[in-house]
């Protein structure tokens, strides 16, 4: 059966097939009971920095290290199931399409790898590095490339469907809805693109390039920009509904849960908002620089910055922190009774 990485249903432990948990970027809300981890049950060394976030499916953790190796790790034992070696460095967060693992590579390709064997199934090309995470909707894989184009390819064989050139480099992971894609670009614009054709439906300029990846909730596109501002745009036409200025650029991506959205800024703070009004609920310092994305657990927000932090969702107070899991772009996985962390230093931890 082909599974698309759309919102996970309740089962235990839940899958975590793409960046921030599912296509709604909920980051696993309500899928994990909260408690402070007591110990690291295993540690896996990739041998190279990990710049991206891991994903999780059927008791296997998939994590890519910068040296181009995709690691499939049995979470029961913390041991390698298989490794796949791409032709270049990897900064892309893997994503899952049924039993296929997709990941972008600095050689300009997206690789599809069999989740059981670790063998390559197909590859799709672009003209520059792919740091974004491939996203799947209706069996079509969408990804952005540093060559400035958005690509749509067939999820079964990687054959191109369409491509659309934007105005700058693309490192943002696309948000895919049924009829529209949303993507931020290095030219500072947020684009809405027609899913079937690649036609640009609207674009809205921000004040600088966009590294952040959007989330969409209640017809609002939520995204940060290097111009320091967190935007809520009308998903229908791109009009700015509200915005909030932080202290420095935003590379982090928002996680959402109902009317609650949270995002980090390079000023070192996490910011929590009411989605409809833009009202700031709280802001909390979690380090000197925050570039990674938060995730939302049951009553907590987790973030990797100088270490791993969990904050009370209601108040923003730090409820626990761990001095490991320092990361630039990795995101914790909250899976049942375990938390998985990938660190820039190349270690992957299972905390319980």
């Amino acid at each position: 059966m082909m599974m698309t990485p759309e919102k996970a249903t309740s089962k235990s432990p839940p899958d975590w097939p793409t960046l921030l948990g599912d296509n709604a970027r909920t980051g696993g809300h309500a899928q994990v009971r909260f408690h402070s981890p007591e110990k690291a049950v295993w540690q896996y060394r990739t041998g190279s920095p990990v710049r991206s976030a891991p994903v999780f499916h059927d008791s296997v953790l998939y994590a890519a290290s910068v040296n181009g190796v995709l690691h499939a790790i049995n979470v029961a034992t913390g041991t390698s199931k298989w490794k796949f070696e791409a032709a270049g460095q990897v900064h892309s967060t893997p994503s899952l399409f049924g039993n296929t693992v997709l990941l972008g590579c600095d050689d300009g390709k997206v690789y599809a790898v069999d989740g059981n064997s670790g063998k390559k199934l197909w590859e799709a090309g672009s003209q520059a590095e792919v740091w974004s995470s491939p996203v799947v909707r209706n069996e079509i894989v969408f990804f952005g490339s540093a060559d400035g184009k958005v690509y749509a390819v067939d999820g079964k064989n990687g054959q191109p469907t369409w491509s659309q050139e934007l105005g700058g480099r693309i490192y943002c992971t696309i948000y895919a809805e049924e009829h529209q894609l949303y993507v931020g670009c290095g030219d500072g614009k947020v684009y809405s693109i027609e899913t079937d054709s690649g036609k640009i439906l609207w674009s809205t300029a921000t004040g600088n390039g966009i590294d952040s990846s959007p989330a969409v909730v209640d017809n609002l596109v939520l995204i940060g920009s290097e111009d320091f501002v967190f935007y809520a745009l009308d998903a229908s036409n791109g009009e700015v509904r509200w915005k909030y200025e932080t202290g420095l650029g935003i590379a982090s991506s928002p996680a959402v849960s109902g009317d609650f959205a949270v995002i980090g800024s390079k000023d070192g703070f996490l910011y929590a908002f009411e989605v409809q009004t833009g009202h700031l609920r709280w802001k909390t310092a979690v380090g000197e620089v925050v570039t990674a994305s938060p995730v939302i657990g049951s009553g907590v927000v987790c973030i990797q910055a100088g270490g791993a932090f969990a904050l009370d969702m209601g108040s923003g107070k730090i409820v626990w922190q761990a001095g490991l899991g320092g990361a630039i772009q990795s995101v914790p996985i909250l899976a049942a009774d375990s938390i998985y962390l990938a660190s820039l230093s190349g270690e992957i931890y299972a905390l319980r």
């Binding site: 190279s48 920095p49 710049r51 590294d211 290097e226 111009d227 990797q304 320092g326 630039i328």
Partner: protein, 387 residues
Amino acid sequence: MDRRTFVKVGCIGSASVLVQGLDPMVRAEKVPPAAPPIDLHGIPDYKPSPLGMPGLFPGRVVEVRDRNAIVRNRVSQPIVRRLLEQAMKELTGESSARDAWAKFIEPTDVVGIKINPSGAPACCSSPEIIREIIASVRSLGVPARSIVMYDRYSYEIDIGSYQVLLPPQVQIVGIQDAFSGGGVGYEPTVYCDANFFGEWETRSYMASIVAHQVTKIINVPTMKDHSAAGVTGALKNLAYGTFNNVARSHRAPHSFTNPLVGLMCTVEPLRSKAVLHIMDGMRQVWHGGPLTQVQAFIEQPGILLVATDPVAMDTIELEAIEEKRRESGVSSLWQHDPSSLTADNRIFFHDASKNLFFRQPGHIAAAGKLGLGISDLKQIDHRLRPS
């Protein structure tokens, strides 16, 4: 895991402790009497370029400034464009910016842009300035693919989001990853060899990208104090960003950045390829450099310095930071009072009277003695041009 890696692993993500070897946990037991012998090995028989340091205009430093160039920590692209054009014309005496750039760059060049991302996001080479440099170079007919923005550590480039902010096709290269071995990306026959503190690896190798790939280098340092070198400007940005294994030159409280910084800049082909220095003084760090994120020590004067002479440029920078420190009532960068030392990074980053090392701003004058430029303020043609 060795001790240095352990320190990094424990602290990663906190820019204040992403310290490339500024490691106060290991302290020299005795005062080293003098710098050890330093053997330099450049590319043999490399023909020096007349554009090489100190370049076409020894002793000349153009300073342009506009307070509106940076407002609430945001750099204005249009104002930077105007400032850079004004400075380039003043430096070269040309009436058009294009002709000014053409004195240094040819269409067939592979142009390296050496940034300083250390200290990102609080203070690093502004992407707005890099974009203007790229546009200027491209206006001469250099293809985007022949432009390489680079620095040593890819994770620092990543924190600065440079990869997103530059035009497509421009190459962005982190010579090495923070936690990988230092050998990848370096030329094994071009190196500086010295044993400073009994370290097991006594060589620092030149980046292959400098040795072989680029034909010209545009150096874009920032305006910062430096806990070991006194300041980090054009010289140090070039030297310690080009060679690996450089943190070994300073072990608290002692630093051999003088004379190593200048000596490294004399090694060919680095010396010949570094044809232009554009110092980003949009922000000015007067304590806690190079990595501080503490805004209280970061001014926003909106300055741009342009020169071909890195020694003269760094001399002007040193004076500017000294002046700011005097205004703020803290000690000179030349001060070597043992009571000002601390081994605690947290104290250092928040107390401007404390430091990790005996700073060595004398590395600038030492570089002057090596022929890299002019360090005597009276001889420097400092052209201050208000916008």
